[in-house]
Symmetry: C2
Subunit: 336 residues, 2 copies
């Protein structure tokens, strides 16, 4: 029987599952909805649904498989303790959920490992993606929230408590937009899928007379990042301004992050990263503009030019479910 | 003959020299003025003066000593290349100074090592100070500028280019105070010795009628951090507000830094750290207030309280010239 690891990526909207072999092939995958943070669904009920989906999945591949372990990436997960703690975008924002323990009950004799969803994406990038040969890089996940996985000297940074790498909660604007974490002005309130929507409405609030726009034809509840991206692709000026402002903020944050660990590259991953150059171009422009000179390139005559040494890249796993791969790599590979 | 390392700390105002034995004792020390950044003094002339002071120093201890190496901490220094690059607070802000090479000419057969001055302070803290038993900590130097040394998993973070750890240049307020680095709103424009002076004048600009204050009796050119601290110690309300505002900004920055590496402790070092509780109390209050819940303590019943897990500490080397010790440790000890 083919040995596989069940990799799970708990996103704010969807939970993705995949059966991953040792070479990083996903033999089968499916997903369930992650309960909305206002749904009141208990963690136990969610885990039951998740594990039932996993049992169905095991019969999906054409060849017989043996699950040898479970790796899970989840927001606010603690690698050391196997818990998910106060996750702002999940229904358990005031709880410490013993996720490893709950899942272990369904897989009694197998290793179950949990890490931050964005750490999982970084591990995926290192093991199977664009960071195979890098010792220092940062992976930024732009989804319902903004997460991060930081690799320094070839190792994931876990910090003293297993919680390092929550760059979505760097305060960018003191007293800025209110954040699900209970504070204000966090990076994720500007550069997540949700932040993009908010910026769309901020931009509209500044342009009552001047511009026709597709954005003006849709409600706050109905608008999606894809709607804004489609409008921008059609040349909608307000939609383009939304990406410009989002990239400006993200680029400034990335320049700040470089002052910490001076990584070789920063990888963007997650739903919003799929908007490609729409986001990447203004982000790179802003990152270059805000970069401290120490971290800039030089021209042929040795003079500094305002262009970052740190490469800004799209994740090589954007179309491959990198967080599922990374979660599975938690079991397949030694801790990186 | 007693073997010693010459440790050098290049500050924005003073350059300190010390002869350090293997146990971390400073057998002799002196200092020279660091040339002002508008002075036009060449790097070669400065190094000549520095090395002459070092030769005088060698004859100062009562027992004969043999210098076996030179360790230097300097702003914007690159450990990998032995250079000081575009240092905003030195006269060579547009240059790459080959510091190792210049010093080597005076000590032809000895190892000469250079690192960032704040990295040197962190190394000193790890080898001789309060971080002896810590794997994850951050050292913040509050001097003419603001520097940082970051230790992750027991190793200093150098990044892909030797320049990691310039947290004084995290942008705290987009389009904020102009910084020597050519950008705006950097942490060091608010929480360095210079930033404290600027905040004194900002506070005065808000209180024309309401308060008498010692701050109003002195010019911008003449005011010093010590003058402001002395006024605050006497209960001067405006001076106390200056420390309150400085601590508010520093505490927010430290809360941001925790989202990166979740250190066990953050050590404050440098001239401004010597103001003790005047700065520490509002900084700790702000750090606790702004801390992401994941990084907060829990009470006896397991509920989160808004108090950081990360300890905020004064450097144990504040009175011992930690950056000189750390610079010497570059030669005495393996790279940490």
């Amino acid at each position: 029987m083919k040995k596989v690891v069940l990799g799970v990526d708990v996103g704010g909207t969807n939970t993705k599952l995949g059966l991953v072999d040792n070479a990083g092939n996903i033999l089968a995958e499916n997903s369930i909805l992650t309960p909305a943070n206002t749904s009141g669904v208990s963690a136990a009920d969610y885990v039951k649904q998740l594990c039932e989906a996993a049992f169905v999945l095991q019969h999906q591949p054409s060849e017989a498989v043996e699950v040898i372990g479970v790796g899970i990436g989840a927001p606010n997960a603690n690698y050391n303790k196997g818990t998910v703690e106060f996750a702002a975008n999940l229904p358990w924002q005031h709880e410490v959920v013993p996720l490893t323990e709950l899942v272990q009950a369904y897989f009694p004799n197998l290793p179950v490992k949990v890490t931050n969803d964005a750490n999982a994406a970084a591990i995926g990038e290192k093991v199977y993606g664009g960071a195979k040969n890098m010792s220092d890089f940062v992976s930024i996940t732009l989804g319902t929230g903004v997460g991060s996985g930081i690799v320094v000297g070839g190792k994931l940074v876990y910090g003293c408590d297993g919680f390092a790498g929550e760059l979505g909660h760097i305060v960018m604007i003191p007293h800025g937009r209110s954040c699900g974490c209970g504070r204000a002005g966090c990076l994720e309130t500007y550069t997540s899928a949700t932040g993009l929507k908010q910026t769309a409405f901020e931009v509209m609030s500044h342009h009552y007379f001047s511009e026709k726009s597709l954005l003006k034809a849709i409600s706050f509840n109905e608008i999606t990042p894809k709607y804004i991206a489609d409008a921008a692709q059609q040349g909608d000026k307000l939609a383009l301004e939304v990406f410009e402002k989002t990239g400006e903020m993200l680029g400034l944050a990335l320049a700040n992050i470089v002052t910490f660990s001076s990584p070789e590259a920063i990888f963007l991953y997650g739903g919003l990263a799929n908007s490609g150059d729409l986001l990447l171009t203004p982000t790179r422009r802003s990152m270059d503009k805000h970069m401290l000179k120490n971290y800039c390139k030089r021209n042929a005559s040795g003079q500094i030019v305002q262009e970052a040494n740190t490469q800004l890249l799209l994740s090589h796993l954007c179309n491959k479910n990198g967080a599922v791969l990374g979660a599975a790599a938690l079991v397949w590979h030694e801790k990186i």
